[in-house]
């Protein structure tokens, strides 16, 4: 110590003269290691996945969804019946019942695959029809959501990023589209397209999909992206205010790169969550339309059209309504719970 400095009366400085070197021990290696308290570096994604794994409802939904998808993919390979195969004499069977012809085959020692859900009034295996129905519904849900996501993302991010007058005009377009009645448009489009498009797509892959499905996709592409676009625009407007966007501009980063590297990753959580929640709503719309007869074309089943067909024999064969309805419920419930779980995991601020 060079000089005995006078301490101010309320100084918080430690008075070193009260301590002596011999009072202190050297820290052992063990103690030094205890000071290293830095945790594993976690990314935002890892952190979210960890939270998601702790959510039993969300994990349960993932398991249910994987099971449903696995059945949808594998069942047509295992079950020897096609969704349009009409078997003479085996109409209106209950679950695991066999027709007279099939019983004779079993007696002759042949293997006959059981009708797990029974058959319908035309003698088609109902299990495979429900499986194909679920395939159609899931496919429509996922593709329609992707379509909505892509259009909404492009439109919303341009509108939000440009701001000002561009944003104003783009959002007025959204407002106008928002005010159009979607169901009416689907029905009108289906009717119009049936006359104009149907002959043109004869024999192509699109014909199998059916004009109704195409018009459904068109309507999704035309109308349903607006809420996604609004949401993404709002997100981008807030993210744009952050100084790191300004910093990127200052560096000389190009606009597409700023959107790609700085803005979109920061609204990714909202995008994932909304897309996950969009799928069940698309499935519902499809089922509803199929129920009123605007779904996939005839032999191809969808969960909604199966439910509609079951309506006729509801008193005698209630199970035929039960199976497709249960499948819709399972899919939609699982997707909704998964969406909620994703929101809790990736957007922790919202859940409180």
């Amino acid at each position: 110590m060079a000089k005995d400095l006078k301490r101010a009366p309320f100084s918080a400085q430690v008075d070193l003269s009260k301590f002596h070197m011999e009072d202190f021990d050297q820290a052992t290696e063990e103690e030094k290691r205890q000071q290293e308290v830095m945790g594993e570096s976690t990314t935002f994604f890892k952190d979210g996945m960890r939270r998601l794994r702790r959510n039993p409802l969300a994990m349960g939904s993932i398991v249910v969804l994987i099971l449903i998808i696995a059945v949808c993919l594998l069942a047509p390979k295992i079950v020897p019946y096609g969704y349009a195969d009409i078997m003479k004499g085996s109409n209106n069977l209950g679950p695991f019942e066999y027709s007279a012809a099939e019983l004779a085959k079993i007696d002759a020692g042949e293997e006959v695959f059981p009708h797990i859900f029974g058959t319908d009034s035309l003698g088609r295996d109902y299990f495979i029809r429900v499986v194909y129905g679920a395939r159609v519904s899931l496919g429509v849900g996922i593709f329609a959501s992707l379509l909505v996501l892509i259009i909404g993302l492009l439109y919303g991010s341009i509108s939000g990023y440009m701001g000002g007058r561009v944003d104003m005009y783009m959002m007025r377009v959204v407002d106008i589209i928002y005010s159009l009645p979607d169901m009416l448009l689907i029905i009108l489009l289906a009717v119009v397209l049936n006359e104009t498009l149907a002959p043109k797509i004869q024999g192509t892959v699109l014909a199998k999909l059916g004009v109704n499905m195409i018009s459904l996709f068109i309507v999704f592409g035309l109308l349903y992206w607006v809420s996604m676009a609004r949401l993404i625009r709002g997100q981008i407007l807030t993210i744009k205010q952050n100084e790191y966007v300004l910093a990127a501009k200052c560096i000389g980063t190009s606009t597409p790169r700023i959107i790609r590297r700085h803005i979109l990753p920061n609204c990714l959580s909202v995008i994932i969550i909304t897309t996950a929640l969009q799928i069940p709503s698309a499935i519902f719309t499809e089922s509803y339309l199929a129920f009123v007869g605007l779904g996939v074309s005839a032999p191809m089943p969808s969960l909604g059209s199966l439910a509609n067909e079951a309506r006729g024999g509801l008193q005698t064969y209630p199970l035929r309504l039960f199976f497709p309805a249960l499948t819709i419920c399972l899919i939609v419930l699982a997707l909704n719970l998964l969406g909620d779980g994703l929101r809790d995991a990736f957007d922790p601020k919202l859940s409180r």
């Binding site: 790191y244 910093a247 560096i251 990714l268």
Partner: protein, 319 residues
Amino acid sequence: MANEYLVEVSHLKQYFPIRSGFKTIPLKAVDDVSFNIRPGETLGLVGESGCGKTTVGRTLLRLYKPTDGTVTFNGTEVTDKNIHALRKEMQMVFQDPYSSLNPRMTVEDIIGEPLDVHKLYSTRAERHEKVMELMETVGLNADHATRYAHEFSGGQRQRIGIARALAVDPKFIVCDEPVSALDVSIQAQVVNMFEDLQKQRGMAYLFIAHDLLVVRHISNRIAVMYLGHMMEMADSKELMDHPIHPYTESLLSAVPIPDPKTARSSQRIVLEGDVPSPLNMPTGCPFRTRCKYATDQCAAQRPELRDRGNGHFVACWNR
């Protein structure tokens, strides 16, 4: 003239349109500001919040398009066409270390982004090496390159921001209140680092701050702004010891003195009233509504920034 100054700002104006009802009123954030910065020099820019300091810095770097006036860098006028190349020469350190770093990027990517944008490396390994070098320059542990910004303290985050600005090896950095979001002990470290970097690399700074003590410590010259106008500009010692403009006087009297005895004997000049709205600027001198020396001339005509000898510029009619 062209080579004496690195940055020349002349008659810079930045008006933001504010829409109220059907009319659009210009908010005069920066109104006719001129100053020069020599190579390797630090110009401190002070003023209370909302006086347009930050806007000057951002307009200087073309983050906003100036309404009027020119910025000349190294003899060439800055335009929209050549700004991309000039971004390699002029950089900025931001005020808030919490929002100026992208939370989804690792430190290596944040510091490496300017290298990506200006293609300053040929291989991945070279990029990595450059980032490591920069992290060492600003006193960051190179092991932390794979971490995310939220894992760092405020001071460390500001160092990351500085490393990002240094990545392109600029000749001029706008420091936009780089220490005001940090606590006092860290402020000293960061300010000293700015000084050391300046010595090593010979960069010029425009150091924006509202803490006069910090500005006095780091600046060669100090400029005082009020309501988008330049009030006084002089060498920092000259300005601190002999302020001429009444606003500078009151600003200096508000600086806390870390000694109770001197503090008691010194007199604080307390200004009357509030800062007028920049939407409804007083006529003539913007400071006249709060100035005790104000006369009719102040209301009629705006005083020009005039040299009172030795590079001491003052905009006042009465002093």
